[in-house]
């Protein structure tokens, strides 16, 4: 595990030094969410009803913005080739980098969401649940995204291609994230099961996506 801990520490340090990727994602999230009330009009009841969905979709788009850089820097400067000569398989490297992406993008976006909820008149009592669905759901966003990032590593305009590849994979996460929130809002019950399925999707992504991403990286370095 030590090489992976070293890699994780380096990626976190690089994210802190560069800062650009996280700043862009947070700024994008803020701007998209601020634009929505302007486009939808000052209907507070409407905004409150759709706030959770808007926050989730804007979060997915903001995370998508940072995905192309996931492996790109290591690929361009030759680090990926040297990482491949280490004792750990590429799938473990992909998993570690996806984990670093979640810690430096998924978690900060999740923390920003409750604040942005104020802009959309999100019911304050729904805010903790919204943050919970995002915290449980965002690992899937990073790990599924790593497949797209690995597959499009050598293609020009890879960023656009990632969106086409990865956004459909986010549908289950989005559905069950919103399902938990609407169940709570309508008082119909079923919040627990929705959160459990959301967690199951994330766990499946965390275990299976690195295998696909590792295989894609193997093809990209050759």
């Amino acid at each position: 595990m030590k090489p992976l801990r070293t890699l994780l520490a380096r990626d976190l340090r690089l994210a802190a030094r560069d800062g650009g990727a996280l700043g862009t994602a947070l700024g994008f999230y803020l701007i998209v969410v601020s634009l929505l009330p302007l486009g939808l009009g000052p209907d507070l009841a409407l905004l409150a009803r759709i706030a959770a969905g808007l926050l989730w979709i804007a979060l997915l788009l903001a995370a998508l913005l940072t995905l192309p850089r996931l492996f790109e820097a290591d690929f361009e400067d030759g680090s990926l080739e040297v990482l491949a000569t280490g004792a750990v398989p590429l799938s473990a490297i992909a998993a570690t980098k996806a984990l670093a992406h979640w810690l430096t993008t998924g978690v900060p976006l999740t923390l920003l969401a409750p604040v942005l909820g104020l802009l959309l008149n999100l019911d304050l009592s729904a805010t903790p649940l919204l943050a919970a669905t995002m915290l449980i759901g965002t690992p899937a966003v990073s790990f599924l995204g790593s497949i797209g990032a690995a597959l499009t590593l050598r293609s020009r305009r890879g960023g656009l291609l990632i969106a086409l590849l990865v956004l459909p994979l986010y549908i289950p996460t989005l559905i069950f994230g919103i399902a938990a929130i609407s169940a709570a809002a309508l008082g119909t019950g079923g919040v627990g099961p929705a959160l459990a399925i959301l967690a199951a999707i994330s766990l499946a992504a965390v275990t299976l996506a690195p295998l696909a991403a590792g295989a894609a990286l193997r093809a990209q370095v050759s």
């Binding site: 090489p3 690089l14 680090s79 040297v82 000569t85 280490g86 004792a87 750990v88």
Partner: protein, 238 residues
């Protein structure tokens, strides 16, 4: 300890670069890959490092002392065209990362199991018959010193010149002991002084029973090194 390549076929983008390539490199030997641009030198090195699958043929690395589970990739150093240096990390942080990352296996076992020369009786560096005796890991600080970039340890590598970045890339060869060095034009952008340091490192590695395979257009100053000329097949076909 010996690296054997048998009837290897190399291809890049549906074009065969080398056919029926066979050679062996034993402990304490250096092999220089020569040939015109596009002859397949880089492709051969990348294949040996396990980055490319061979089209046909066999690559085997016999090492009695190695962990039977370890792959050739874990026993070699690959220094390619790119330096694997992060511009936002300082020289020391860059080298510390690679040293820690490459030094241990997945379960914390030592990737390089060769006995440390300093722990041998007498403590002298002596090449045993057909065996690799690790010189022991050089510390990060000492390696930066040896490559002549100690004064830059705390400066971000983004401010480095191409030659200084190359020196930093070469430093990991001595901080992590591995028996096989695969070097792709290692002397590119190095000045005369650094080229001499590199020659020194290579001679020492070979003298302690290490293996070196280097693609190069100039003499690296290793002394008695064998040469493998690539690109003959491609030239004949043309």
């Amino acid at each position: 300890m010996q690296l054997s390549v048998e009837t290897l076929t190399l291809a890049r983008g549906h074009r065969v670069l080398a056919h029926d390539l066979s050679f062996t490199v034993a402990a304490g030997e250096a092999l220089l890959l020569k040939g015109p641009n596009g002859a397949g030198k880089t492709t051969l090195l990348r294949t040996l490092a396990g980055l490319l699958p061979p089209i046909a043929g066999r690559i085997s690395f016999e090492d009695e002392r190695a962990d039977p589970d370890s792959t050739l990739a874990e026993r070699c150093h690959f220094v390619g065209h790119a330096n694997a240096v992060k511009p936002t990390l300082t020289a020391r942080e860059n080298l510390e990362f690679w040293t820690h990352y490459l030094a241990t296996g997945p379960l914390g076992r030592d990737a390089a199991r060769a006995p440390d020369a300093s722990r041998l009786p007498g403590g002298q560096l002596k090449a045993q018959e057909n065996e690799w005796t690790s010189q022991g890991a050089t510390s990060v600080v000492a390696a930066l010193e040896q490559l002549g970039i100690a004064a830059l340890s705390d400066i971000r590598a983004g401010y480095f010149s191409a030659g200084q970045r190359r020196r930093l890339a070469l430093a990991r060869l001595i901080t992590v002991p591995r028996p096989l060095w695969l070097l792709d034009e290692p002397s590119v952008s190095l000045d005369a002084e650094a080229t001499a340091t590199l020659a020194d490192m290579l001679r020492k590695h070979v003298a302690t029973g290490g293996l070196v395979i280097a693609a190069t257009h100039i003499e690296l100053g290793i002394g008695a090194a064998r040469e493998l000329r690539l690109g003959v097949a491609a030239a004949e076909a043309a």
